[in-house]
């Protein structure tokens, strides 16, 4: 028992470290790489605020994807929105006291979980049914979906079929903050759920999941369309001028 | 074959976002009312143990009924194969979904325990017409979405007709079902009538079309797309026909009620002695909702003018709300006849002492909740036409299909 608890405690310390360090490194890398030319996909907003709005629409509504492919949009959006709700619901394990909005969101988190799984199933089926997607899918693309689907299904099973001791789980995670390792209940589903989650955290900075931070750095989406008004010069390009 | 070109609604962003802003504000206010009613309990509304359904239901039933009627245009296009209505099919489907969503949301937010919605979706009592309606509504939504797909996606085209027929049947079932929510209430004198089902179908046709026309005119006007006189005339004639049918059903309904001795008292009350309800019935439902619009629509000069047609549509809608008020609230206010042949002298529970009607006065939160639902429907519509190709590029005479029965129509429908 103690072994298991200690293993998971270590695993989560490690996973959190990889996630944070890896993401920070990637984000810094994106941020310091210059975009030497103005390449927003036009029509593009001509003001900073316009760009913020465009970005919000992309992040919240997946606007471009909506124009691109309705099926992918429906499934993809369902999945991400569900994931978002689930994440909010999960904050209850990590915050004490639980903030009021998180308390309110709790029941929606469950629907979010269901939506997420449906969305993932839809996305995965596209990878088999559409020849173009079959062609571009690497094993990692399938595994990523399997991983998330695995997390979602174990989670839902815990919610609906094999209840676990939520309070102990919370105590375990609260303990991690203080390096005070509390016992983790040894329910198999929970252990599987957590194992997969740790895996997800570890691969996050090394996989296509970088699309989440990537979107914010995409020059075609985050640039203001004002090249005639404002001269835009990358540091390395400036050096050419002399 | 000539293709109908559909285009996203491309009014200037400032204009668009300000429209969305207004609607969002109304929805926000509706949401606040919901929060207030939910937090305080229903005592803050005008509803009581006597009048258990109030303003929210007036709005909700109106929207639901219109939703079904709005789909009528699509049906005429695909099922009855009138090509001139074809370009309107998509908008008609969108409206059907949007109005239904708005209406259902009002119903849900008015529940005593809205958080138990999931219970309503997991526990069914199949002897309840209400439970069936849950199926009818969700099914309707799914069918209309499939219908829209069959109209918009080329792969769907072969299914267009069968889905259209199915949607038509479903739509009739839905309106009948909605009407039967009332029709099955044997206890209430106003409701216990088989004719309520068909009457609701008639109401739905008129209200759905009126809403449809207003939305269509508004969208086209804003963006400067053109609607030719032919389409205008066809829609106008259709509306006139539907309004006339409504009037006919109202007549039949009250005549049969009068004929049944049991319901004498109710009829007498509603048509003469019901005070406010009598007023709403005659002025709201009959005059504003039926007679004036009919007059406009059959008037040789006015009926040719777009603004007058718009006015007629608006009146039909107002009349529709009045009709719902009478049907839903009036019928509850009239006391239950528990002791035929007796007069109630005293009662501990407002049983209609001396035949008095129960009092009900709409409260502000209920009305705002209803308006919020309407705003939500409109928001869905405006977002829909903006992001997807719902609106035909033009309905000018030279673009739309020729009238298939021009001659016959001139004789049959055209006002003399």
């Amino acid at each position: 028992m103690a072994l298991l608890t200690n293993f998971y405690a270590f695993l989560f310390y490690f996973a959190a470290f990889v996630l944070v360090a890896g993401l920070t490194r990637k984000i810094i890398q994106y941020a310091v790489t210059p975009a030497p030319l103005k390449i927003p996909t036009t029509p593009a907003p001509t003001t900073r605020w316009g760009v913020v709005l465009r970005m919000v629409r992309e992040v919240v509504l997946f606007e471009s994807l909506f124009r691109g492919n309705k099926w992918t949009w429906i499934f993809g959006w369902t999945f991400h929105f569900g994931l978002f709700l689930v994440t909010l619901r999960h904050l209850r394990y990590f915050i004490e006291p639980v903030p009021f909005p998180i308390q309110l969101i709790q029941p929606f988190g469950i629907y979010g979980g269901i939506a997420m799984v449906i969305g993932l199933a839809g996305l995965w089926s596209r990878r088999f049914l559409v020849d173009r997607l079959r062609y571009i899918s690497a094993p990692s693309d399938h595994l990523m979906l399997a991983l998330l689907l695995g997390i979602g299904c174990t989670g839902l099973l815990m919610k609906f079929a094999f209840h676990v001791d939520v309070v102990e789980i919370k105590t375990f995670f609260q303990g991690l903050y203080r390096y005070d390792i509390q016992p983790l209940p040894a329910d198999p589903l929970l252990l599987l759920h957590l194992l997969l989650v740790a895996l997800l955290m570890i691969i996050f900075p090394f996989s296509k999941l970088l699309h989440a931070p990537g979107l914010f750095f995409s020059p075609t989406r985050n640039q203001v369309d004002n090249p005639r008004e404002q001269r835009h010069l990358a540091p390395w390009a400036k050096r050419l001028e002399h | 074959m000539k293709r109908i070109v559909y285009r996203e609604w491309r009014i200037p962003p400032q204009r668009y976002w300000s429209l969305i802003g207004y609607l969002a504000a109304l929805i926000g206010i509706g949401a606040l009312s919901f929060g207030y009613m939910e937090h305080e309990g229903h005592w803050v509304t005008g509803m009581s143990n006597s009048v258990v359904w109030g303003m929210p239901h007036v709005f909700a039933v109106f929207l639901i009924v219109s939703a079904s009627g709005a789909l009528n245009i699509a049906s005429i296009g695909t099922v009855f194969k009138k090509p001139i209505y074809k370009p309107l099919g998509r908008l008609s489907g969108l409206l059907a979904v949007a109005l239904l969503v708005g209406g259902l949301l009002i119903l849900v937010t008015d529940l005593g325990r809205p958080e138990r919605l999931i219970v309503a979706m997991t526990h069914y009592n199949f002897s309840s017409i209400f439970a069936w309606n849950i199926y009818l509504y969700t099914g309707f939504m799914a069918i209309v979405i499939a219908y829209l797909w069959s109209m918009a996606d080329r792969q769907g085209a072969p299914f267009n007709y069968p889905i259209g027929v199915f949607a038509l049947i479903w739509r009739l079932a839905l309106t009948t079902g909605t009407g039967s929510i009332f029709g099955f209430l044997v206890a209430r004198q106003a409701y216990d009538a088989a004719i309520l089902g068909p009457m609701f179908v008639a109401l739905s046709l008129a209200y759905g079309l009126a809403v449809f026309m207003l939305v269509l005119f508004f969208c086209f006007e804003e963006e400067g797309r053109s609607i030719g006189p032919r389409v205008l005339r066809r829609l106008r004639n259709l509306l006139a026909l539907f309004v006339a049918v409504v009037l006919y059903f109202v007549l039949i309904y009250h005549l049969t009620n009068l004929y049944m001795a049991k319901k004498d008292a109710f009829e007498h009350w509603l048509l003469l002695g019901g005070g406010f309800y009598t007023f709403v019935f005659w002025v709201g439902w009959i005059l504003v909702g039926n007679l004036v619009p009919l007059w406009i629509l059959y008037h040789p000069a006015l009926s040719e003018q777009r603004n007058w047609i718009i006015a007629a549509c608006t009146l039909v809608i107002l009349g529709g709300l009045a009709a719902m008020y009478v049907i839903i609230i009036g019928s509850q206010a009239f006391p239950l006849a528990m002791f035929p042949g007796h007069t109630i002298l005293e009662s501990g529970f407002n049983d209609g002492v001396q035949g008095a009607a129960a009092s009900y006065w709409p409260s502000i939160p209920e009305v705002l909740l209803g308006i919020g639902g309407v705003a939500l429907s409109l928001l869905i519509i405006l977002v829909g036409v903006r992001v997807l190709q719902f609106l035909p590029e033009s309905l000018a005479d030279e673009v739309v299909a020729p009238d298939e029965e021009q001659l016959a129509e001139a004789v049959a429908v055209k006002p003399a």
């Binding site: - | 005592w43 803050v44 009581s48 143990n49 005593g112 526990h123 044997v186």
Partner: protein
């Protein structure tokens, strides 16, 4: 014969309080699994006792509970049955909200008194009116979730864990027997949970049924005033007092035309 009002907090059995506690302990430790005795002692405070055996098997349709109301016995100005019902179910703990006229319309009422005058003869009738426990209850037919239901023993009630507060049952009930709880509730009784947003009505004092008491609060109260206008009993048992009395006097259902076969019958209307 009809029993007079029995004080219902009177210990019914021969168990002494001490024994009761012991039994309970055992039950909770899991050996006797809570069968039978259910008397609990909260340390040093109140002695809770139950007056009868709690039901541990599902109720059956061997009985159908009902009431017989003899209107001519019902006295002008008397409200004993109403007060008893309110007290029994904690309705007297409702806190008025809104204007008095609104409160009149919105407060929960399970049983009320109605005074009628015959339009022809001018005869005045008084009667208590509550849920009629219809055999074919329209409220149950229309309830979308099945929250309104009829127990095997004929009691029509609302499972308030399922009720979504749609009020359709209220629309359907021909007797206006139901109330919607418009307000936040406080101070509910253990035996009668009730709360905002659900619909409720007379349930023939269902907890009394399940704890084996043999009458309803209203009937007991009426008897206590000496009027004996309300008689409770099993409509299926030909030898029950209620059936015997029904054979003796003419009685009918309110709105017999609807064919609901109510469990509450009235004599003298």
């Amino acid at each position: 014969m009809h029993r007079l009002h029995a004080p219902h907090n009177q210990p019914s059995g021969d168990e002494s309080p001490a024994e009761a506690v012991a039994t309970t302990r055992r039950a909770l430790i899991g050996t006797a699994a809570g069968l039978g005795a259910a008397a609990l002692v909260a340390p040093g405070v109140v002695l809770h006792t139950l007056s009868a055996q709690a039901e541990t098997a599902p109720i059956t349709n061997k009985s159908r509970w009902g009431l017989l109301i003899e209107t001519d016995k019902c006295a002008e100005g008397c409200r004993a049955c109403i007060e008893a019902c309110d007290h029994e179910h904690g309705l007297d703990r409702q806190v008025p909200e809104g204007s008095p006229s609104k409160w009149e319309q919105q407060k929960a009422v399970w049983i009320r008194k109605v005074k009628l005058q015959d339009n022809q003869t001018g005869r005045i009738t008084q009667l208590p009116l509550m849920c009629q426990h219809c055999e074919h209850p329209p409220c149950v037919d229309v309830c979308p979730t099945g929250a309104s239901f009829k127990r095997a023993d004929g009691i029509v009630m609302v499972d308030r864990h399922l009720c979504i507060g749609c009020r359709y049952c209220m629309m359907a009930c021909p007797y206006k027997a139901r109330s919607f709880i418009h307000h936040n509730t406080t101070g509910q009784l253990t035996a009668v949970p009730r709360g905002k947003g659900c619909v409720e009505s007379c349930n023939l004092c269902v907890h009394r049924r399940d704890y084996g008491q043999d009458s309803t609060a209203c009937a007991d109260a009426c008897a206590a005033t000496g009027h004996h206008a309300i008689l409770f009993g099993d409509l299926k048992d030909p030898e029950s007092p209620i059936r015997r009395r029904m054979r003796e006097i003419q009685n009918r259902q309110i709105r017999e035309d609807l064919g609901l076969n109510t469990g509450v019958r009235y004599a003298g209307i």
